[in-house]
């Protein structure tokens, strides 16, 4: 049984990781880094889920964390495929440059 006093620190860690990831998504222009930041945000969520599950004595938090990992993996597959394709087209890997959908 973990010390209940650790709970705020775990949530704090989660919030810190999430903020770092969000800032990375907003600031960085390299899509690969953006992806890594998104992973960071997802894993921040996982930390929070697992922490809650632990402190509320429930398995659901961990189950959800597994779900998130699966979804994140799938998302990475799609995302990396997109990035590879963009790279193959000879485009610069810059999210600001990929704005054709505006029109």
């Amino acid at each position: 049984m973990l010390n209940p006093n650790l709970f705020p620190y775990l949530l704090g860690l989660s919030a810190f990781l999430f903020t770092v990831g969000a800032m990375g998504v907003l600031i960085r222009r390299n899509p690969i880094v953006v992806f890594m930041c998104i992973e960071l945000m997802l894993n921040a969520g996982n930390v929070a889920l697992v922490a809650y599950g632990r402190f509320l004595n429930s398995e659901e938090g961990q189950i959800f964390a597994f779900m998130v990992i699966v979804v994140a993996a799938a998302e990475v597959v799609v995302g990396l495929a997109l990035i590879t394709q963009i790279f193959r087209l000879g485009r610069e890997l810059d999210v600001d440059d990929l704005s054709e959908m505006k029109e």
Binding site: A22, R29, S99, K102
Partner: protein, 649 residues
């Protein structure tokens, strides 16, 4: 006549023209001219046969049972407190049987004539479809035993009239004339509908027999019944081209000549006479309205007669003579001489249809020339048409023993003793003057067109019309001589088959204005009227046949104002144009120039501009930069969380 026989007859007489109209309209263009000619005429002939059966049934019915009202089916049943129910009610009685006979009989002959007249027109299927539809509408009007059904028929004939006046829709004048006719008639429709509202408010029924049975709702001579009758009369005036709603009829001559003969002479324009005769029970309660109707009728008769004297278009002359003769009919039903009015209607239908069709032959022979100054000398070249036209002119002019003589003298004989005071005598004197005028204009037309020498080279080469156009003219020519002989003699206590036939319809109530003239008075009136007609015809002969004195000389000796007024139709078109059309147009122009751009557009387009501006601004949000979207998303997510955590809880 039992109910099932009557329903069958009504259904058949209405169905044939309607089926004919549908066949011609939908299948005519596919099957071609021969099919249309057959379908168009046979449908009306079948209707005519049924009308004869109706007549036989009405005549053969035992005394007092000649009228029957049948309900084909229920239509509107409001139930509840109002208890208003409208059914497909139709009446068969002497009056409707007479109308049926005239409409289908004359209508059939005119359809036969149309076969020849429309021979070279490409729109023949449309034409016959409209014509059959007109017959259907008119039959519905005269058979209706419910005010609502009557109004529907009333409006449908106006529609057919509109369609047929504007039949040649590539002529702007025809389209304008059609519109004018329709708009004028709508004025009458509105009056009729208001009258119907007043009637249903007071009697709680629209069924004509019930209305006539509940006249205790109207105090005799009261303002209510006078108003209702005045409104009905306005409806009748619009349909029958009476002052002040008469200006559409001459313009209606833009339509093909068979249309002028059928609709604008023989049948539809006399619907007003029929309406007043049908509502005689109400009119007999409103002597003031009756007097107004009589005055308007006689006034129109004089006015139209004067105008007819100077018109130069052959069809317009006949149109004004129609207006004048309908004025006499309206006068007759105004003073309560209903069967005399209907008698003149029947005779007039015969000889006026004849005159129009004969005029159509002339126009056809002269290759669409309608100016009578360019005609003349046709008597030798169009022998049959000439004879028929002459017979029609004699009937119209009221020559002794021709059909018009019987009906016109019959009608004027009642005029001598109608109503109190000096007014009836004045009206009667004017009526005698109308007799003179009728003789004048009828024979001015006849002499100018058929006698003398041809005025153009074309006049020498004319040929008589073909059989389809000649046979109906000759039949009607013979009829306009003899048809009145077995029916009526314009003296009391003599031959009165016609008025005896109609008398059950009018027996229930007596007009306060009407008194039967004594034999002596009627004889004097007859002699005066006949003499007046002869004077008119004789004068016309001297002026336009012998040219002693020449009409031009007479014209020059008159005060300048009379020919001017006559030629310009008393300036009614101009007055209406200035007083009604131009103000309305000015209002419309102002609305177009000021109200629409400044008032309507300001808010209609304002809303549009507002939305457009908002969208334009909103568009800037879509930058295409994923990081922008993500930022917005994040900001809103944070805001939502903050709101949820700190405020919503």
């Amino acid at each position: 006549m039992n109910v099932s026989t009557a329903s069958t007859l009504v259904l058949l007489v209405l169905a044939f023209p309607l089926i004919g109209s549908a066949l011609n309209g939908f299948l005519g263009p596919v099957f071609g001219r021969r099919f249309v000619n057959l379908a168009g005429t046979i449908s009306i002939f079948a209707s005519f046969v049924v009308a004869c059966l109706v007549l036989a049934n009405v005549v053969g019915a035992p005394a007092g049972q000649g009228a029957i009202t049948v309900r084909l089916w229920d239509w509107i049943n409001l139930g509840g407190g109002t208890n208003l129910s409208v059914g497909m009610d139709f009446t068969l009685d002497a009056l409707s049987a007479l109308m049926l006979m005239v409409i289908t009989g004359v209508g059939f002959l005119i359809h036969v004539y149309s076969v020849g007249y429309m021979e070279h027109d490409t729109g023949f299927a449309r034409f016959f479809s409209y014509m059959n539809f007109f017959i259907f509408s008119m039959l519905m009007l005269v058979l209706a035993a419910d005010l609502l059904i009557l109004i529907i028929g009333w409006a449908l004939v106006a529609l057919s009239s509109y369609l047929l006046i504007g039949f040649w829709h590539d002529r702007p004048t025809a389209v304008a004339a059609a519109r004018k006719a329709f708009i004028t008639q709508v004025i009458g429709d509105v009056a009729l509908v208001i009258a119907a509202f007043l009637i249903v408010l007071n009697t709680h029924t629209l069924s004509l027999p019930n209305i006539f049975a509940r006249t205790q709702a109207f105090p005799a001579g009261g303002a209510l019944i006078t108003g209702i009758c005045a409104l009905l009369a306005i409806g009748a005036f619009a349909k029958s081209a009476q002052f002040p709603l008469h200006t559409w009829l001459p313009d209606a001559m833009e339509g093909p000549t068979p249309v002028s003969a059928l609709i604008h002479a023989a049948t539809m324009v006399t619907a007003g006479v029929y309406l007043i005769a049908r509502f005689h029970v109400l009119f007999n309660l409103a002597p003031v309205a009756e007097g107004m109707v009589a005055c308007v009728g006689m006034g129109t008769a004089v006015m139209a007669g004067i105008i007819a004297l100077s018109q130069i278009d052959i069809k317009r002359v006949i149109a004004y003579s129609t207006m004048s003769q309908i004025g006499l009919m309206i006068y007759a039903v105004g003073i309560g001489a209903y069967s005399a009015g209907m008698f003149h209607f029947a005779m007039h239908a015969v000889f006026k249809a004849l005159l129009f069709m004969a005029a159509g032959n002339v126009i056809h022979a002269l290759h669409d020339e309608q100016d009578i100054r360019l005609m003349g000398g046709l008597h030798a070249r169009m022998r049959w048409t000439h004879v028929a036209f002459g017979a029609g002119s004699l009937a119209l002019g009221g020559f002794f023993l021709f059909s018009g003589w019987f009906s016109k003298e019959d009608l004027l004989g009642f005029g001598t003793v109608s109503g109190p005071g000096a007014a009836p005598w004045i009206l009667y004197a004017v009526g005698v003057g109308v007799n003179v005028l009728t003789g004048l204009y009828a024979f001015r037309l006849y002499f100018t067109v058929f006698q003398g020498e041809p005025q153009t080279a074309r006049g020498f080469g004319v040929k008589e019309a073909g059989y389809p156009m000649l046979i109906p003219v000759v039949i009607l020519g013979a009829l306009s001589v003899i048809v009145a002989w077995p029916l009526q003699f314009p003296l009391p206590n003599t031959l009165h088959v016609f008025s005896d036939f109609l008398s059950p319809v009018f027996a229930g109530s007596q007009s306060p204005l009407l008194h039967d003239p004594s034999f002596g008075l009627a004889l004097v009136a007859l002699i005066i009227g006949t003499a007046a007609s002869l004077i008119g015809i004789g004068l016309a002969m001297r002026l336009w046949y012998e040219h002693r004195p020449d009409p031009q000389v007479v014209l020059a000796s008159l005060p300048r104002v009379i020919p001017l007024l006559s030629y310009n139709k008393f300036y009614f078109d101009e007055i209406y144009d200035r007083a009604l059309v131009q103000p309305v147009k000015a209002v419309a122009r102002t609305a177009r120039r000021v109200v629409e751009p400044d008032v309507m557009d300001s808010w209609v387009q304002g809303i549009g501009e507002l939305l457009r501006g908002f969208s334009l601004d909103l568009r800037l949000v879509q930058t295409g930069l994923i990081r922008d979207y993500a930022s917005i998303f994040t900001v809103f997510a944070v805001v939502l969380v903050v709101v949820w955590v700190f405020i919503a809880r």
